[in-house]
């Protein structure tokens, strides 16, 4: 008995000219963890949504889906709800009720279960997922990771045979992401639930997958064990999108190894392989020890002095923050969940209460940052918060003054072209995909020609292909003398592209240094690549840096 069987599945969205999924044939074992990977637009999400009728979008479908050898379409509604669980990527949208316990009860209430049964199940589930402390809490007060855990727990209340997860860790910080993946692993081991999951962040999940399905352009390119898939992946994908998203161990192997066999599947295997292959590198002079960008004689654009700030109920989130940004610098502010990274940005925008401290902008002391054209601009975490108009074109045009002069109109057209939004110009901003929305948000910010760009967690949920594009736009900005302050969890992104990094902890900046130096000493705050190569090349944080070193 197979867990999930897909036969000759072709799916075309309504009003689309070509099918998004083309003749898919897959067989997933019962109790297996199947990981679907692929570039943005390859059809991953569409495929997962075909496995449950209530998730399938409008469109034409041919072919069949079988869950435990039963035609999925033939399932009764109640059975479907109880047999197939789903967890999405946005923790905000998945919460329906106001308390954790009622969220856990939601599915069973819908199925008409009696109070006693619900009570028993919720007690078990809360215990299993470690939600006892959060049981009575309001859902609004939970962190993103906690919300996703509650979502998962709620889906598990019916003990489903199949769990579908669409990028569940996309919006989470690295720690919560790891926690969630571990819980999934436990569920799979202890209940034998068949899990089908799509993910962008592959390091943790790749190791535990039983089956990896590589998708491209709506077709299954490769489906097999992680070993098979790695072999295929290390040979393929010279297009940036998929390659950039591969787990670090595969990426490194692709670049560094001449072999195509024996690709490491886990970080541990990667480390062992690297030490074996390149252990002789130690002792050779390696200029990876350089401290990074030259920070002499640059003009200061922003200085934060002794900042203490917070909110009404938490007045001292920040206790004593000192930070300096020079012209043309890209600074990444790292720190754990709740450390106060966003609070710094909020303090600059006067949305948090500043108890002490001074801001100096371009040398002048200011109460709050001057915002807008040619000054500082803030890019929020959720691009949807920025959109006020009904079409993409109007969004861009709204940035110019009321009466659009002919020059402004041309400039707007150019902006649309530059950010590859021209083909969407008549669409409503909400109809864009995640990456397209981010591009539009970026376009809006950059048209104002900011001298200082403040970005809040931009890479959350960003697909790897767009990350590269995003980085190059930032680089362009930097090179034209503009400065960037980015708040992020994304250690990998910072290690690759930032000039300097700062670590926020206990209300202070615990470490502030050039990129290389920042990561050089760290025990825990390091990139996946570094954790593999640090015995040989302690100062290398990215695949590119490693390649540079071993070329010597």
């Amino acid at each position: 008995m197979t867990g999930i069987r897909i036969e000759n599945l072709t799916f075309t969205y309504k009003e689309a000219s070509a099918p998004t999924l083309k003749d898919i044939n897959l067989s997933i074992d019962k109790g297996a963890i199947a990981l679907i990977i692929g570039e943005s637009g390859s059809g991953k999400t569409t495929l997962i949504r075909q496995l449950k009728t209530t998730l399938t979008p409008y469109g034409e479908r041919t072919g069949k889906v079988y869950i435990n050898d039963i035609d999925e379409e033939a399932l009764e509604s109640k059975e479907r709800v109880a047999t197939i669980g789903y967890v999405g990527q946005n923790p905000e949208i998945s919460m329906v009720t106001d308390r954790v316990y009622s969220e856990l009860a939601f599915v069973m209430e819908n199925l008409g279960e009696d109070n006693g049964k619900i009570r028993r199940t919720i007690a078990e589930v809360a215990h299993y997922f470690g939600l006892e402390e959060l049981f009575l809490k309001k859902t609004n007060e939970l962190s993103g990771g906690e919300k996703q855990l509650v979502s998962l727990a709620s889906a598990m209340t019916t003990n489903p045979r199949v769990l579908l997860l669409d990028e569940p860790t996309a919006m989470l910080d690295p720690l919560s992401a790891v926690k969630l993946i571990n819980v999934l692993k436990r569920i799979n081991e202890e209940f034998g639930t068949t899990i089908v999951i799509t993910e962008q962040r592959l390091e943790e999940i790749y190791e535990i997958a039983d089956m990896v399905i590589v998708m491209k352009d709506g077709k299954v390119e490769k489906a097999g064990t992680p070993g098979d898939a790695s072999k295929y992946l290390s040979a393929c994908c010279d297009d940036n999108g998929l390659r950039n998203g591969l787990p670090a161990q595969i990426r490194l192997y692709k670049e560094a190894s001449k072999l195509r066999e024996g690709c490491p599947l886990t970080l541990k295997e990667g480390r062992i392989w690297f030490n074996k292959e390149f252990g002789r590198c130690t002792g050779k002079p390696c200029d990876c020890a350089e401290t990074g960008t030259d920070i002499t004689s640059k003009e200061e654009i922003l200085k934060i002095d002794e900042l203490a700030a917070g909110y009404k109920d938490k007045p001292y989130v920040l206790r004593n923050v000192d930070l300096m940004i020079n012209k043309g610098e890209f600074i990444c502010l790292l720190g754990g969940n709740g450390a106060g990274k966003s609070t710094i940005l909020k303090a600059l925008l006067r949305e948090a209460e500043v108890t002490e401290g001074r801001f100096y902008y371009k040398g002048r002391k200011v109460k709050s940052l001057p915002l807008g054209k040619n000054e500082a601009v803030y890019l929020p975490q959720n691009p949807m918060a920025m959109f006020t108009e009904v079409t993409v074109k109007e969004e861009i045009e709204s940035l110019y003054d009321n009466k659009l002069t002919p020059e402004d109109a041309i400039s707007a057209e150019d902006a649309l072209k530059k950010f590859r939004l021209e083909e969407f110009k008549d669409l409503h901003p909400y109809d864009l995909s995640g990456g397209q929305m981010q591009r539009l948000a970026l376009a809006k910010a950059l048209i104002l020609n900011p001298d200082l760009l403040l970005i809040d967690e931009p890479t959350k949920g960003m697909d790897p292909g767009f990350k590269i594009e995003f980085a190059s736009i930032l680089n362009e900005l930097k090179n034209s003398g503009k400065s960037i302050l980015m708040v992020s969890h994304d250690v990998e992104f910072a290690a690759r592209y930032a000039d300097k990094c700062a670590l926020l902890f206990d209300g202070e900046i615990a470490d502030f240094a050039g990129r290389r130096q920042f990561f050089a000493g760290n025990l825990f705050y390091k990139t996946a690549v570094n954790s593999m190569v640090r015995d040989v090349l302690p100062n290398c944080n990215t695949v590119a840096e490693v390649m540079e070193c071993i070329m010597h």
Partner: protein
């Protein structure tokens, strides 16, 4: 003294229905006085003396305003105090105004007390018994309001972050908030449907079990309630203001009824404070 733990929502809501029912149905000085003092004692017990003092100026203002409006609008009454712009200012008019002010203040205090004792999920539960859909809707409302508040702040930051300011940008932000939340509700609805909403008749999970003492509480409340309502319904608690202030019943009866109401109003002080907000 060993205080009681909170009751089941049903006796709690019955308590407040009777309390507010009596308080709002009478305008009697004795019952008003009893109500005001009992409400104040309860609020001091729940929120502290500093909180009570903090509210006192506003309460006084309300009383003064009501007295003031009334003396300007009504000129009946036996005891004329002075003339204002050719109009009579009488003691009875001021008296009525003061009564009105204290009435408003007392009812507000009872409502605040209610807010402290009854939580949202208890309130939802009461609906869940016979209208699970309404219960769910209430739960969603209670979730959505803080969420929208937070989201508005983010939208505000996004627009001020682009340099926008002024009334127009605030209006735009509200519009963005509405559009965004409508958009999200489409997805949320889809997810709800996926999780089985609408598949059949819904039940409503609740954490509240009826205990014997809840039944006892209801019996006590209803007994006192019936007695008080009987007194009020009979019309014996009526108060006259014009042309002279007077009551229909004897002083002894008025004091007894007010005393019973006072004790009834003090019952919340029997609750343990740790479960109350």
């Amino acid at each position: 003294m060993n205080r009681l733990r909170k009751l089941h929502p049903l006796p709690t809501i019955i308590y407040f229905i009777i309390l507010l029912g009596i308080q709002m149905w009478t305008f009697n000085s004795y019952i008003l006085a009893a109500g005001y003092i009992a409400a104040s004692v309860c609020m001091i017990y729940m929120a502290g003396f500093a909180d009570y003092l903090g509210k006192l100026p506003l309460d006084a203002l309300i009383v003064v305003l009501c007295a003031g409006i009334n003396l300007l609008a009504y000129h009946d009454g036996e005891h004329i105090l002075f003339y204002l712009n050719g109009n009579r200012v009488t003691f009875e008019a001021i008296n009525f105004g003061i009564h009105m002010g204290i009435y408003i203040v007392t009812v507000i205090k009872w409502c605040l007390l209610y807010g402290r004792i009854m939580t949202e999920d208890e309130f939802i539960y009461l609906f869940g018994r016979f209208a699970p859909t309404v219960a769910l809707m209430l739960s969603q409302v209670f979730r959505t309001i803080p969420y929208l508040r937070e989201d508005y702040k983010n939208i505000r930051m996004a627009s001020s972050g682009l340099g926008k300011s002024g009334v127009r940008s605030h209006m735009e932000d509200i519009s963005t908030l509405i559009s965004k939340s409508l958009e999200e509700s489409i997805y949320r609805g889809e997810l709800m449907e996926d999780r089985g909403y609408g598949v059949g008749k819904r039940t409503n999970y609740h954490r509240f079990r009826f205990k014997r003492r809840d039944m006892a509480a209801i019996i006590i409340e209803m007994t006192i309630g019936v007695l008080l309502f009987a007194e009020v319904a009979s019309g014996r608690m009526t108060i006259f203001f014009y042309p002279l202030c007077g009551f229909r019943a004897e002083k002894a009866e008025l004091i007894t009824v007010a005393a019973v109401f006072f004790i009834y109003g003090l019952l919340p002080t029997l609750l343990k404070k740790d479960e109350v907000r």
